[in-house]
Symmetry: C3
Subunit: 269 residues, 3 copies
């Protein structure tokens, strides 16, 4: 790719958000222990419905009736892995989408093998930072943990390759987020460095991606809309707070009142 991707239009994000709120999609979250409460609160603030059902048999039963499934491997254990596999099979059978957040893949062996296995099970989207997306695509990663040592634009070729291989929409997030189906690509600017000082902003974004990908319409646009809604709420919150503690309430409030004018950039925080 020789040209920088175009900036995702706020108007499309606004349209997706309006669809999300009526009716509210039910998102089954199999996510890590650290971010469960924040993830649920982000989805609720936006108008989606979260649920966490973790026993393998119940997870399969529940995923079949949910609108989308999130699989986040941040605190993967063997019982969690069993529940994830059962839930993925259930959503695939029910024709519902699932989203992968490959936390710290590349740096840790078992979860890397696990994620390389499950991306064969047709995720509808994959959301990770540069080093995670590189690792999944088979290119080398430099991260030693959950923070990426690479910038998101440099990982865009890896994201495109991964999208081609898996059929998933791939979002590689960082200072600017890039969202691609392998051919088309959107750049989603916004956000703020302070968001990296609050645990779970990336994990919660993956849950929001799951909520938006349950909507009808173009999946590339819907994933980009999820990224833009979160970056817009974040940049507005950071403009008014004095630190990462007061960020969280302000961010959730912004998601609750998020609107087309904000997404179109017509008003300033």
């Amino acid at each position: 790719m020789n040209v920088r991707p175009s900036v995702f239009p706020g108007a499309i994000a606004a349209g997706s958000l309006q669809q999300l709120r009526h009716p509210s999609p039910l998102v089954h979250c199999l996510t890590n222990d650290v971010v469960q409460s924040f993830t649920a609160n982000v989805l609720l603030a936006l108008g989606a419905s979260p649920a966490m059902v973790v026993d393998p048999a119940e997870a399969a039963q529940f995923s079949a009736v949910a609108d989308a499934l999130l699989v986040n491997v941040g605190t993967l254990t063997h019982p969690h892995a069993d529940a994830m596999l059962a839930a993925i099979q259930a959503v695939n059978q029910a024709g519902k989408p699932w989203v992968l957040d490959p936390v710290a893949v590349g740096g840790l062996r078992w979860r890397t093998e696990f994620c390389l296995d499950i991306i064969k099970l047709k995720p509808a989207a994959i959301r990770g930072n540069a080093s995670e997306i590189r690792a999944l695509s088979g290119l080398s990663a430099s991260g030693r943990g959950v923070d990426s040592g690479d910038d998101s634009l440099s990982a865009l070729p890896a994201a495109q390759q991964l999208a081609h291989e898996t059929g998933a929409i791939v979002a590689v997030t960082g200072e600017t987020d890039y969202v691609t189906d392998g051919d088309r690509c959107w750049a989603v600017p916004g956000g703020h460095p302070m968001m990296t000082r609050v645990v779970g902003t990336g994990c919660a974004l993956s849950a929001v991606v799951a909520a938006f990908i349950a909507l009808p319409g173009d999946r590339l646009d819907n994933v980009a809309a999820a990224c833009r809604v979160m970056s817009c709420a974040g940049e507005r919150a950071c403009a008014t707070v004095k630190g990462p503690g007061s960020f969280t309430p302000e961010f959730l409030d912004n998601l609750y009142v998020m609107n087309g004018e904000w997404l179109n950039g017509e008003t300033q925080p």
Copy 2:
């Protein structure tokens, strides 16, 4: 029942709250992964003492010395179920009360069977939404997850039947909460729709029910007091905040300074 239940008097709630604060009851919480921190902070703000001890042998040892036990099946796993059974046996042997929160019962098979089994072990109280209470009482439920599709008043007959069958005080919560021992019944108004956009308000209420049911006095009144304290803190918080993010700090602050005047409705937020 041909008449609507009477509204629970604020003065009784105020009396129960005063008792709760001296001495602070120790509540053993076996609850779901999503709400553990919020549940603990709600109990601490009110003046009760939470503890979460989850290994089956330790849970039994701890429940025997706690003042009450909460069992919430939101993220039930087989190890959790073992710990719950061991803890219930220990509290029953020690003559202490336990409270059941049957999250998503009716919609999911395994937890429904588990809860139908453990309600034979004499819970002192059961707190759920309309569809959960219906499902436990043997009447059909319409919920597909943690949100109820039924309103609370229509589930009052199911609550009364469940109270008669189990000997528990049953609280069916919604826009108005109804609390019954099968014969007598209180209506507890208050709260605010925004509370449904914050994860764990219902789960935390069940923990507060466990704290109040450890008090001496009429158990029906004490359970209604728990509902009223939470609805009062919630409606006051919602009157001043702009969204579900700023709700949480304001709600906890309100619990911390909750007082008889507020419960008696003598002051406005």
Copy 3:
């Protein structure tokens, strides 16, 4: 000891904090389910990097590359215990420090035996309340749970004995914190009673101890610096908030902007 320990100088705390921020230490947290999010947010606000990796094989792999390991037994289970042992062996082999938070030790049998076993594996620091430190030192404890029935000064002899036996820096925390290597001792005043009404302030302190003990320099000073940074942020937050709900955002904001002037007591909240 016949004299009260000297008050830890703010200037040393300021020096340690400056070191902490460049480069940010990576702290592997094997901690309890209730406080994971708050612990991560405290470390991030201060400028350290948290990560929670819980599968035993991955925990061992990860601890070998982290800068320090935290072991907190608050919600100990057998799988957690396996991960903790694997991670401790890995950090010991890699020559990195690990910190023990012996939550509720003394009151509960299995975790008491487990902690008495692992303190033979050379923790760099142990942070607990008076009853927990007494229990680990072999002196009797009066706590029935996570709250201490003893005051911290009275447990200082137990802390000194434990430091001598294990080679660890021992911090016994309470209204005033005492930090000792068995011979030398610092008193760290500050904090506020409202901090006991917020879940996880002690657990998060142990994580901050792990971050500071990864720094070069005198380990006694670094552990005392961790205690002082947290007590300073807490007392400043409590001076401006109306309850434990608004405490949490304010506390995290204070950690984010914590500075030498505050630690030296040159400015007032």
